[in-house]
C-alpha cells in the first residue's frame, strides 16, 4: 500500500466547491431574514422551500461534493475516476441550484424550475457514476464504501423524486398531493444522503483526527443495515399508507442505527490519544448533540401527526431546522477547518517540508474568526431554534443576526485560506 498522493488538478476542483458553498452559506441568513414570517407558518411555503434547497443543495451538498473529491480517494485508498466528469457535474449543479432556488423563491413552477431540477438530476447522476467508478478500482470492499455509494444512490433517488415533484406542479405526475411525497423526498435526502454520507466519511476521519485506537467496525455495519432498512421501509410504507402507527417502529429501527454510529463516535472519543479537542472537533461534537435533539423530536411529530394536531407542523419545522441548519451546518463549519487548510497546505508546502520551516495547516486560517464563527453559531442555535418552535419572531431575528455573523466569519476565513500566500521561516 502506498499513501494516497494528491492528484494534479484536484485542488482547483475542490476549492471551487468550498468557495461557492461559502457564498451560498452567506446567502442563507439573508434569505432567512426576509422570511421570518414564513417560519411562523407551514413549512410548505415558497420561501421555506427556497431556503431548504439552498441549505441542502447549495450549502450542504455543494461542500460534500467538493470534500468528496478530496476525501473519497483518501477513504477508499484509490484515485478519483475522472476530474472531467466532476467539472461537468459542477457546471450543471451550480446553475441548477440557482435556477431551482430562485424559482422556488418567486414561486413560478414553470420552465426555470424544471430546467433547474433536470440540471441538478444530471449533475447528481454524474457524481454518482464518478464515485461508483472510483470505488470499483478497489478490490477490497469496506463498510465506508457501502455507506458512501448507498448515500449517492439515495441522493439520486431524492433528486429524481424532487424533479418529478417539480413537474407535478404543472403536469399531474402523481395522484396524491405534493405533501404526501414531500416527507419521502425529505427523508431520502436527510437520512439516505446526508446521514449515510456523513457516517461513511466521518467514520474514517474522526478516529484519524482524534488519534483514536478504536478500530472495530461492527457497530458501523449494524448502523448501515438498520439505517438503510429504515429509509427504505419509510419510503415504501409512507408511499402506500402515509404516516401511521408503523412509522414509530420504522423510526425506532432508524434511530437504533444512528445510536450505533454515535456509540462508535463515543468509543473513538474515549480511546483518543489526542486529549486536547480543538474548535473544529468541538463543532463536530456539537453537531452530534443537535442530531440527537432532532431524533428526540421524531416521536412527537408522529404522535401529533396521527392526532391531526397542527402542532405537528411546529415540530416538523423545528426538526428540519435542527437537521439542516443545526447538525449538517455545525458539522461543515467544523470540518471545513479540518480539511480545507490541509488541502491548501499540501499545495503550498508539500515540496518544502523538511527543507525549511513552514506554517502548519492550523496556522493557515484565522483562529479569532473561527472563535467568532463558533460563538455566533452557538447563539444562533440557542435563539433561532426555540424562536422557531415557540413562534417568537424577535428571538428568530436575534438568531439570524448571529447566523449572519457566523456566515461572514466563515466566508472571510475561507477566503483567507484560499488566498493564502506561501511563506517560510528560514532553514530547518
Amino acid at each position: 500500500m502506498i499513501p494516497v498522493k494528491q492528484q494534479s488538478g484536484l485542488y482547483k476542483l475542490v476549492v471551487t466547491h468550498y468557495g461557492v458553498a461559502a457564498v451560498f452559506f452567506f446567502s442563507l441568513p439573508l434569505m432567512m431574514l426576509f422570511s421570518v414570517k414564513a417560519f411562523t407558518g407551514h413549512y410548505f411555503h415558497p420561501q421555506i422551500l427556497a431556503i431548504t434547497h439552498m441549505a441542502a443543495l447549495g450549502w450542504g451538498t455543494m461542500i460534500i461534493f467538493g470534500a468528496s473529491y478530496q476525501l473519497i480517494p483518501v477513504v477508499l485508498e484509490t484515485e478519483l475516476h475522472s476530474k472531467k466528469l466532476a467539472w461537468i457535474s459542477f457546471s450543471l449543479f451550480l446553475p441548477g441550484v440557482i435556477a431551482l432556488v430562485y424559482s422556488f423563491w418567486i414561486f413560478v413552477p414553470g420552465i426555470h424550475m424544471q430546467c433547474g431540477a433536470v440540471l441538478l438530476l444530471i449533475a447528481i447522476l454524474l457524481f454518482t457514476i464518478n464515485v461508483y467508478l472510483t470505488g470499483k478500482k478497489k478490490e477490497q470492499q469496506t463498510i465506508q464504501e457501502d455507506f458512501i455509494f448507498t448515500a449517492c444512490l439515495f441522493l439520486f433517488f431524492t433528486a429524481a423524486l424532487g424533479t418529478a415533484l417539480v413537474f407535478n406542479f404543472t403536469t399531474p405526475v402523481f395522484q396524491q398531493d405534493q405533501l404526501h411525497f414531500l416527507k419521502i423526498h425529505a427523508h431520502l435526502g436527510i437520512a439516505g444522503w446526508f446521514l449515510l454520507m456523513i457516517i461513511g466519511v466521518s467514520s474514517k476521519l474522526v478516529p484519524m483526527f482524534l488519534v483514536s485506537s478504536y478500530q472495530n467496525t461492527r457497530l458501523l455495519s449494524f448502523s448501515y443495515y438498520t439505517i438503510v432498512s429504515a429509509v427504505l421501509l419509510f419510503a415504501i410504507d409512507s408511499y402506500f399508507f402515509g404516516i401511521n402507527y408503523k412509522t414509530y417502529i420504522i423510526a425506532v429501527v432508524g434511530v437504533t442505527g444512528i445510536m450505533a454510529y454515535l456509540l462508535f463516535i463515543i468509543k473513538c472519543f474515549r480511546s483518543r490519544l489526542r486529549k486536547r479537542v480543538d474548535i473544529p472537533m468541538m463543532s463536530t461534537l456539537i453537531s452530534f448533540t443537535l442530531l440527537t435533539i432532532a431524533i428526540v423530536i421524531i416521536p412527537f411529530i408522529i404522535y401529533y401527526h396521527l392526532k391531526s394536531n397542527p402542532v405537528s407542523i411546529r415540530y416538523s419545522l423545528t426538526y428540519g431546522v435542527l437537521l439542516l441548519m443545526g447538525w449538517v451546518t455545525a458539522l461543515i463549519l467544523g470540518q471545513t477547518f479540518k480539511t480545507l487548510p490541509f488541502i491548501v497546505w499540501i499545495k503550498h508546502y508539500e515540496h518544502l517540508t523538511g527543507k525549511v520551516k513552514t506554517p502548519m495547516p492550523a496556522d493557515i486560517f484565522n483562529t479569532d474568526l473561527l472563535k467568532v464563527q463558533s460563538a455566533g453559531f452557538m447563539l444562533f442555535c440557542m435563539t433561532f431554534i426555540p424562536g422557531c418552535f415557540f413562534v417568537l419572531p424577535w428571538l428568530m431575528y436575534v438568531g439570524l443576526v448571529s447566523l449572519l455573523i457566523t456566515a461572514l466569519a466563515y466566508l472571510s476565513n475561507v477566503i483567507i485560506v484560499l488566498f493564502h500566500k506561501t511563506k517560510t521561516y528560514g532553514k530547518l
Binding site: 502506498i2 499513501p3 494516497v4 490541509f342 497546505w345 517540508t353 523538511g354 527543507k355 495547516p361 530547518l428
Partner: protein, 110 residues
C-alpha cells in the same frame, strides 16, 4: 522504534540522523515523527553514501503521508549533503499507539 548498537562505528551518525528526523513534524498532530514512533530503522551505506530509512505511517490512508515522506527525504538530504536518502515505507510491524514515546504522549496532552 530504531535501536542502535554502540559497537557499530556508524552508531553515532545514526543517532544524529535520528535526532535530525525530529525536525520533521506531523502537520496534523504537531508532533515529530520520531516521537510518533514512525521511524523503524536507519541504515547507512558508507561506500555508496546512501542513507536508508525504514518508516511507516499511522494509517495507509493518511492524507499527509506523501508530505511526511518527502519531508524526511528533504530533511536528510539538506542536512547530510554528501549522502542521498532513500525512504522505504513499510507496513510491518503495523504502527500502533504503543509506538508513541512518552514525550509524544505528553505532547498529545496525555
Amino acid at each position: 522504534m530504531a535501536n542502535f548498537d554502540i559497537t557499530d562505528h556508524l552508531s553515532f551518525l545514526k543517532s544524529e540522523i535520528m535526532e535530525t528526523l525530529r525536525l520533521v513534524i506531523d502537520p496534523e498532530l504537531h508532533i515529530n515523527i520520531v516521537d510518533l514512533g514512525l521511524v523503524y530503522e536507519v541504515r547507512i551505506d558508507e561506500p555508496e553514501k546512501r542513507i536508508d530509512i525504514d518508516m511507516t505511517l499511522s494509517s495507509s490512508y493518511c492524507p499527509m503521508g506523501e508530505s511526511i515522506l518527502s519531508g524526511v527525504k528533504n530533511c536528510i538530504e539538506s542536512h547530510y549533503t554528501a549522502y542521498t536518502c532513500n525512504v522505504n515505507l513499510v507496513w510491518e510491524p503495523v504502527w500502533s499507539y504503543d509506538n508513541i514515546t512518552e514525550e509524544g504522549k505528553r505532547s498529545l496532552g496525555f
